[in-house]
Amino acid sequence: MKAVLKTIAYLSLILLVSFSASAKDEAKGEKGDPVNTSEEINDYILHHVKDSHDFHLFDYFSDGEKHAVGFPLPVMLWGENGFSAFMSSAFHHDDEGTVVVEKGGSNFVKYHGKIYELNANATTVSFDEEKHPTNASAPFDLSITKSVFGIILIGLLMLLWFGGLARQYKKKAVPTGFGRILEPLVLYVRDEIAKPNIGPKYRKFTGYLMTVFFFIWILNLMGLTPFGFNVTGQLAVTAALALITLVVYLFSSNRHFWSHQLWMPGVPYILRPLLAVIELAGTLIIKPFSLMVRLFANITAGHIVVMSLIAIGMTMQDQMSVVGSTILSFLLSLFITLIEVLVAFLQAYIFTMLSALFIGMAVEEPEHH
């Protein structure tokens, strides 16, 4: 159902953009016209997969002017002059560093998704060849960005849903309504992920695993809606998740685990130091790194592929006519979106399952021979 709704939404987006594109054919490639050239589409896609300070839903054009539809999010910064907060609408959707916002004695500009604080005597920002600002510093950004907004939204949603399920159990043994959908999912994570991978000590870690599983899954699915969330496709988010898994399994590891890490029994003594290095690298770096990159890459790639296929509707218009390219892009993006629904679950499952596996390896008790 969700996939169908989303596909309809994508379809309307495609139609909207392609009709406006054909109407404004003569203005191709100009600033302020619809996104319709390959470069613009590339920029648009890369911009989408990044975090952003405002919530942008879509653009429309009237009288050759671009109007962005969305809503601003609060910007909170800790810079040279302390804390300052304002709404992101103060930048007027500018992302090139031209609009300067003055707040609490500091001047802020936004450039490519990042907010910079201008040095005391500067009035405009200037860049070096690598597009790093030369006369501005980056304040610590506490803003509720789009990703943070998504994280908080999903957090509240999870608390609402599962807290509601928990309250239902106080009154009755079998939940009703939406709880009937949630309960099998909870049981699935407990019985198929936590129990088989961790073993008898599963109970202590089930809370973490369930939080991770539902957090990633729901955010992955949210990313497939046309609202433009790409939270689990943010490297910072997956890094934080992987780091927490690392901390969890390091802090729960027992003697048996470390004795196998540092002095592997059953192999020649000369190989043991070498194996210890490999094992340590695996435990401390490779495992969390693979967790981080797998989720990030899968979700980001999915977003880029879906958006690229939608873009076929615009880029192939010359070769295939408006109708042909729209139908082609619709069919392809429908297909890939259905796969992405599967990937959304699969990546949540893999992340949780591997976390459980790593924890299971760390808490495993020596076998009694």
Binding site: I151, A166, A236
Partner: protein, 166 residues
């Protein structure tokens, strides 16, 4: 790699870490702990109920077996009792018969003895009477003989006839 690092936002990393830790804490406290406890309780309840049902079934089977055993025992007891009763009845009848026979024999024997003794007494009595009669006849004969010989003979004949009638 450089673009990857460029995409990495330390601010977002810090925010995500803090928010996610808070989320884990809240979810564990308000959702996972009560949910898992409730699920565990429910599963244990179901397991207990199943065990209890199984036990009840076994008990029922035991009871039924016991009942059958009792029934069979009762039946066997009844059989033996009936058999005993029949035996006793047969024995009593046999005994009674035997006793009656013995009694009858005794009675018959007594009767025979009495008959014999009576007979003897009768014979003795007859003998005595015959003797008396003989004596009387002899007396009378002797008396008559003395008077008339013919009459004496008649008398003897009459006397003998009388004796025969007696």
């Amino acid at each position: 790699m450089e673009q990857l690092l460029d995409n990495f936002s330390l601010d977002l990393f810090v925010k995500q870490t803090i928010l996610f830790l808070v989320l884990i804490f809240l979810m564990v406290k308000f959702a996972w702990k009560p949910i898992l406890n409730a699920l565990n309780d429910r599963e244990e309840g179901i397991k207990d109920a199943l065990d209890a049902a199984e036990n009840a079934k076994l008990e029922m089977q035991n009871l039924q077996a016991d009942n059958n055993k009792l029934l069979q025992e009762a039946r066997a007891e009844r059989e033996t009792m009936m058999k005993d009763a029949r035996e006793i009845k047969a024995k009593m009848i046999a005994d009674a018969k035997e006793e009656a026979q013995a009694e009858a024999n005794k009675t018959i024997a007594n009767a025979q003895a009495t008959i014999i003794s009576e007979k003897k007494a009768a014979i003795a009595d007859i003998k005595a009477q015959v003797a008396n009669l003989s004596v009387e006849i002899a007396e009378k004969v002797v008396k008559q003989e003395l008077s008339n010989k013919d009459k004496q003979l008649d008398l003897v004949a009459t006397m003998l006839n009388d004796a025969k009638l007696n």
